[in-house]
Point group: C2
Chain length 218, copies 2
């Protein structure tokens, strides 16, 4: 179970909080990017970045544009949000239009991972999320690259999941009037056909860990 | 031109800042949701929400989970980020894996739109972004709904666009070694077939403003 706290408790009707941990994991595992929020100079900064999950630890690429996060010598309060948009909800009234979605919001302190074995593991988790199979297929990280890269870890202790996954919720009068179409237009994220690099030597075909990914599109 | 400020200036190589306003508009117009960041009790909060653009004004749905934003009696510092993920970049080395993307980051103060004509216009802009054609097709907002809904406006004066739109950027040694596939796996957002509401009366077919949207998928 997720542990509700005042800042993960929800007030909106029809946007249900999901309180089991498997739902949180599912949203995080299906998303491709997260939006990382920090406070900088007293104002919010929200940047997209790569991430990966292992158990109840979320790893973040420290090499994002958030220089202030990289430079921090102490733990930084962050909010990491992953949103999957599933559909546009067309209602009989303009006012009841909505979106179907699943979103995970995680609060905590992002801690730099410095111990070499743990940092290498964090890099593998990040790679496995961004490009499953590449950790085994591509050239491994060398010492110089390893020293230059930055990995942050965030505990999933304080997190919430919200979702809407239903049809239009119209007023009875609007349903009766029957003057507009109502339904859901699904939204999905898909992978296209792999595009080989211009400098790739002839003879290569895209490997299964790339081509097979199309089947995992949602 | 966008006006660069210290907080919109970028330091990352290969992730280029785009400085023309049409690029900003294009990213905002193509995205479906934004991630709205605010500072609450000193820590960041990032929530997905609907938005729409008219000229250099970004409208936000005030009826998001950000209750503190709705309740605010003064202007609230926000950061609104819209990210379009365009591809996964597979490099010969794990370290050079990346993403192709376009992202817009907007800083400013979100101001409640209270003047009725302006608020109605904001609602139309929000609807036109979420569900083009619904403003004309669906039942209009009534007085009770209009009073209950909240619209925020954010000026696009302080904004930046970042993008990466290229193939792998491998080390010459890795290209020469030729031991791994390199290329880009495109990522796209698409609309599926419209799903009529369970309580829709027979005889309706999805109208063109819904079905025609598939052609606009990216």
């Amino acid at each position: 179970m997720l542990s509700p706290t005042p800042r993960t408790t929800l007030g909106r009707k029809k946007h249900r909080a999901v309180t089991d941990r498997s739902a949180l994991h599912a949203v995080l595992d299906e998303g491709l990017i997260c939006h990382l929020g920090i406070v900088r100079d007293g104002v919010p900064l929200v940047l997209p970045t790569g991430y990966g999950r292992d158990g109840d630890t979320l790893y973040l690429h420290g090499s994002t544009g958030a220089a202030s996060l990289r430079a921090a010598t102490q733990d930084v309060d962050v909010c990491v949000t992953v949103t999957l948009l599933d559909g546009i909800v067309y209602s009989r009234s303009v006012n009841n239009h909505s979106m179907n979605y699943r979103s995970a919001v995680v609060f905590g302190t992002a801690k730099p991972v410095v111990e070499p074995e743990a940092k290498l593991h964090g890099l593998k988790v990040l790679t496995d999320h961004l490009a499953p199979g590449s950790w085994e297929h591509a050239r491994e990280v060398n010492a110089k690259e390893f020293a230059a890269v930055s990995v942050l870890a965030l505990d999933l202790a304080e997190a919430s999941v919200k979702m809407r996954a239903e049809g239009p919720d119209d007023e009875p009068d609007d349903v009766g009037a029957d003057t507009a179409w109502a339904g859901v237009l699904p939204v999905r994220t898909v992978f296209g056909a792999p595009e080989p690099s211009a400098d790739l030597s002839p003879g290569w075909t895209p490997p299964p860990h790339v081509t097979g990914r199309a089947a995992t599109a949602r």
